[in-house]
Structure formats: C-alpha cells, structure tokens
Amino acid sequence: MSISVENITKRFGRFVALDDVSHNFPSGELTALLGPSGSGKTSLLRIIAGLDFADAGRVLFEGEDATERQARHRKVGFVFQHYALFRHMTVHENVAFGLRVKPRSLRPSRREISDRVHRLLELVQLDWLGDRFPHQLSGGQRQRVALARALAVEPKVLLLDEPFGALDANVRKELRRWLRRLHEEIHVTSVFVTHDVEEALEVADEIVVLNEGRIEQVGAPETVYDHPATPFVFRFLGSANEIHSSDHVPESFPRRPGGERTTPSFARPHDFDVFTERKPGSIEATVTDVRSIGPTTRLELKASGNGDALEVEIDKHTARYLALRAGNTVFVQPRRLQSYAGVG
C-alpha cells in the first residue's frame, strides 16, 4: 500500500517540527527518513501512524484520506526505538496481543492465533524463546520480537522509529542486514527513521533526507550519496572539505550553471590525489597532522593560499610511500568537486 503525505505542518509551541512536507512513499518499498535529531523525521513517522496529528496537511493511504483515522484503525505496524514490549507478558503473548484484542467477530480462534504466533517467531528466528519475558532477552532479540508483534496483525505499512538505535554496533549491523532480507521476503511498504547515514545507505530502497522540518533531497541511496542536492546533504552524508576559489581550483573542473568562482565547492576527504611536487591546478598546503586510522591515513592540511583547513584521506600504502610528516609541503588535487549555485 502506498502512503502519501501532503503539505504536512506540525508545531510544538514555537518550534516547527515539520514545515509543509509532501512526499509519496511508493508501495512495497523500504524508505529511510534520514536526518539529524530535531529534523522532524520521527514526528512525520508518528503522524503517519496516527500517534500524533498534524496541524495542517493530509495523510493518504492508497489514495484514501486517512488524516482523521484513529491509530487503532490504520492497520500499521510500529516498531519503537526502545522496543516497548509489554513487560508483564511473555514473548508469545506479546506477539499474540494484536490478534487477541480484535473484536470477537474478526478474532481468529485460539489455535489459529497460536499457530500464527509460532510462524512469526520462526520468521524472526526466535521460536524457542516464546515462554520468556522481555527482560530475559537481549536487545537484538527484543527488537525482533517487537517486529514479529508488529507483523502479527498483517499491517499494510510497517513503520520503524530508529529501530536499531538502542543496540550496540555489531548487533545493529547484523539486524539491519536481516531487516533488508526480511523486507525482500514480505515486501510490505516500510518507512524507517534513522540518523545513521550508513544504515540508510545500506538498507533503504529510497532515502528522504530531512533537515529542520523540510525535505532536502529524495532519491536512491547511490544518487543521494553521489549527487547530494544541497550543501546540507553533502555535509550530512560524510566529512566535507569546502574549497574556496583562492585555493586554485582547476579551471577544467565542471561547474553547475551559474556556479560562481567565489562560492565554495565541496570535496570528500577520500576524493583527493596527493603529490609531493607541484601539479597544474593543484592546491598547495602544509601538513599539520598525520594520523593512521585502520586501513586509511588521515592528513590534516592547511592551504597555503587562504589558510583553509583541509582533511584528506589516503590509503596506508600511499601514505607509507609518501612518508609525510607534519610541516611537509604537499600538493593536493580534488578528483571530484561538487558546487552549488549561490549557496555557501
């Protein structure tokens, strides 16, 4: 089922959480709402779920207006950051909850409920934990139970609010791959909120980047990463170097129409070639720090022209070959430069 939000605005007192946001979440896809905290991503998710209501705008489910529909009638599955499992119920009872509270006429038989719970627990690979209580499970297991519980009512939409936010790094990586596989299996329209760029890039079919209550960019992970539409997206998706015209940006680099030479261009730290002798169009800089981080070496540089600080990452072998130390003079050449018209 597709979900559309149209001109959604939400304020908390003076704070504008969402400012005239419109977007269509395509059916069957896994969409990431990506943004820093306070960007409005969780508010948008809660408005879709019916847990919060917008001050203006509409929510459409499959083209049908659902703005005023109560949360309990929206048929959405919601997974909370802190699991929100019912602490006094066993895993089995937790998953069965959505089926047990159905009106008598729609409620499956006791046996059917039990069967379905077993199937769901198998799907999340936790069938053997049915009799445990939430506090006896690890964080990763709890989140999988929460997912099974959300799926039990056969939701048309699955909404996940920072689902891996409370887990440690290894479990998080494992679970997001698992979520990706699960989504390929069941293909329910899913929206998940995250502030973790890597997570969004790895899991999502489509990324919606939010900032200060507005959508900055929508696109496939690769598009968003390779062609950030705004300086904000460029900075948010990874480390960014701002290069000003006085840094001798080579003439040959393509520019967007209207891109003035005075506006800064952006380059990722790993998109530089480093030389020890002058090359045409390269930027002369002094090394201020050399730091080896796992497979890469990070150089902190100060441009000789205007004193701009630059961060450059090269692989370990190149670093060893160049044998750089603080105080050395180097010449760096950006391989890819992104510039934006009229913004800084």
Partner: protein, 299 residues
C-alpha cells in the same frame, strides 16, 4: 539486640567506604534503636498489657460489646465506600497526569497533596461549614431531610478527603517512569482505550496500586481528627473504631478502650507486614527492569 547491632556493624564495616568512623555509625544506630523502643515498642506493648490486664475474658467481652461491634461495622462500611472512591480517583488522576500534557498539571499535583498539608480537624470543619445546620448548604439539606453532618455520609466524606492522596501519590511517579510507549504500542496494534488500560496499563501498576490501597486503608481505618469533627459521637451510630476508643477512655473504661485500641494496633502490624511484602515484590520486579537498563547501557 546487641547481637543484631554487631551483625549490622560487621556488614557495614565490610563495606568500609570512605564514610565516617565506626563509632559514629554505632552511636547513630544506637540512637535510632533507643528512639524506636521508647516511641514505638513500649506504647505498643502497653496497649496490649492494659487490654489484657483483667484477663482474656474481659478482653473478649469488651470486643463483643454491642457498641464496639457497631463501631467496627461503621469503620468497615466507611472503608468499603472510601477505598473504591479513592482507587478510582487515584487511577484517573495519575493516568491524566502521567500520560497527558495539559495546562495546570502542576497545580493539580499540588492540590492532590492538600490533605497532607491541611490539619485533619480543618478538613472536618470544612464539611461542617459546608453541610452543617449553620453552613452554606445546611438549610437546603435540612429542607430535603438529607443528613450529612453528625451522620454516616459526613464520616465517609471526611475519610475520603483525608485519604485521597495515597493512591494517586503512589501511582503518579510509577506511571511517569513507565512512559507511554507500551500504551502506544497497544493502540497501534488495534486495542481500544479500555483494552489498553486493562491489558497493558493496569498490570504494569498493580503492585503500586496495591501498595497505595494498603496505606489508604490503614489511614482510613485510623482517621480520628476529621471524622471526630463531623461525627457528633453518637454511640452506636456515628462512632468509628478510633472514636469509640476515645468514648470508652473518657468513660474511664480502660480495659475496653485498650481492647478496642488493640484492634487498631493489630491492623497496623498487618499493614506493615503487607506493605513489606508488596515492597519486596515490587522491588524484585524493579530489579529486573534496572538490570535490563544496565545491560543496555553497558552494551
């Protein structure tokens, strides 16, 4: 007792922290124990000694006296009305305060504490001023033949007023700490308001609720000041157990007075026992939850 002290000390010094020297700990414990013996245990023992001074027969006679039985009945009736009222009020107040944001929330919390701040005699007087013959609503009530002051309704009202903070005070912090995540989950899963309350909220607060009920019950049973003002002390009609003790005492009927007082003392002991049981149970559950949180933050 000395053995108990030295055992306590050993445990404390085993944990020998950067705290004060042992002699300070010992004297602090000694002061507390002396205080408890003087203020609590001796009076308690005196109640039972006085009550049984003329033997078990006199004790039982005093308890089976008609007026005493009527006083017990009135106390039980008062509790049977006041307790459910305060459970409903406490649940509603704590639900509203913990789960929703609204204007005037702080004011409401302060108002709930009012009976703790006001002397019980004053709370009783409020009702006399309101419903008494000379009071604001007095003439109207008299005209319609409704008796509140010097009658059972007044006693019930005064008891409700004095005891209404207990359940709410117990539940508000508990419900606030639990947040609204579980209720939101239930709603998204299709549960209605009542289902959410009965299946999710209530099981999560049942120990806190029970604790509040026990305290509320103890206070309702023992309330003297407020009830004394509105009761009128009509023997066999408007005397609750504590008032009956006073009546008997004023009549120099010491054995009977202490015998009836011993019921209240026993009730206090039972309350303490139940209270510790519930606390122990609730702490065990809390331990699970905090262990969880520790695991999470460690992970």
């Amino acid at each position: 007792m000395a053995g108990a002290i030295s055992r306590l000390n050993r445990r404390v010094s085993a944990r020998k922290s950067a705290l004060d020297p042992v002699w300070i700990q010992r004297s602090a414990i000694a002061i507390v124990l002396t205080f408890l013996v003087l203020i609590l245990f001796m009076p308690l023992a005196a109640v039972f000694r006085e009550a049984l001074r003329k033997g078990a027969g006199a004790y039982l006679d005093a308890l089976s006296d008609r007026d005493t039985l009527l006083a017990i009945r009135l106390s039980l009736l008062t509790i049977a009305i006041a307790l459910p009222c305060n459970v409903i009020f406490g649940l509603a107040a704590s639900w509203a305060i913990a789960k929703f944001d609204f204007r005037g929330k702080r004011v409401l919390i302060t108002l709930i504490d009012l009976p703790f701040a006001v002397s019980p005699v004053v709370s009783g007087l409020i009702y006399v001023l309101l419903f008494g013959a000379q009071g604001r609503l007095g003439p109207w009530l008299l005209a319609h033949n409704i008796h509140i002051i010097f009658a059972v309704p007044g006693i019930v009202l005064a008891t409700i007023f004095v005891t209404f903070p207990f359940v709410a005070r117990e539940l508000i912090p508990l419900m606030e700490s639990q947040g609204t995540d579980e209720e939101e989950s239930a709603v998204v899963l299709g549960a209605g308001g009542w289902q959410t309350f009965r299946r999710v909220t209530l099981p999560n607060i049942k120990w806190g609720l029970l604790y509040g009920v026990i305290l509320c019950n103890a206070r309702a049973m023992g309330e003297f000041g407020a009830v004394s003002v509105v009761s009128g002390h009509i023997r066999g009609k408007t005397t609750t157990v504590p008032l009956h003790v006073e009546v008997l005492y004023n009549e120099y009927n010491f054995v009977a007075a202490f015998a009836v007082a011993s019921i209240l003392a026993l009730l206090a002991l039972v309350t303490l026992l139940l209270k510790s049981l519930v606390e122990w149970r609730a702490r065990k559950i809390e331990q699970f939850v905090t262990e969880d949180q520790n695991e999470e933050s460690a992970g």
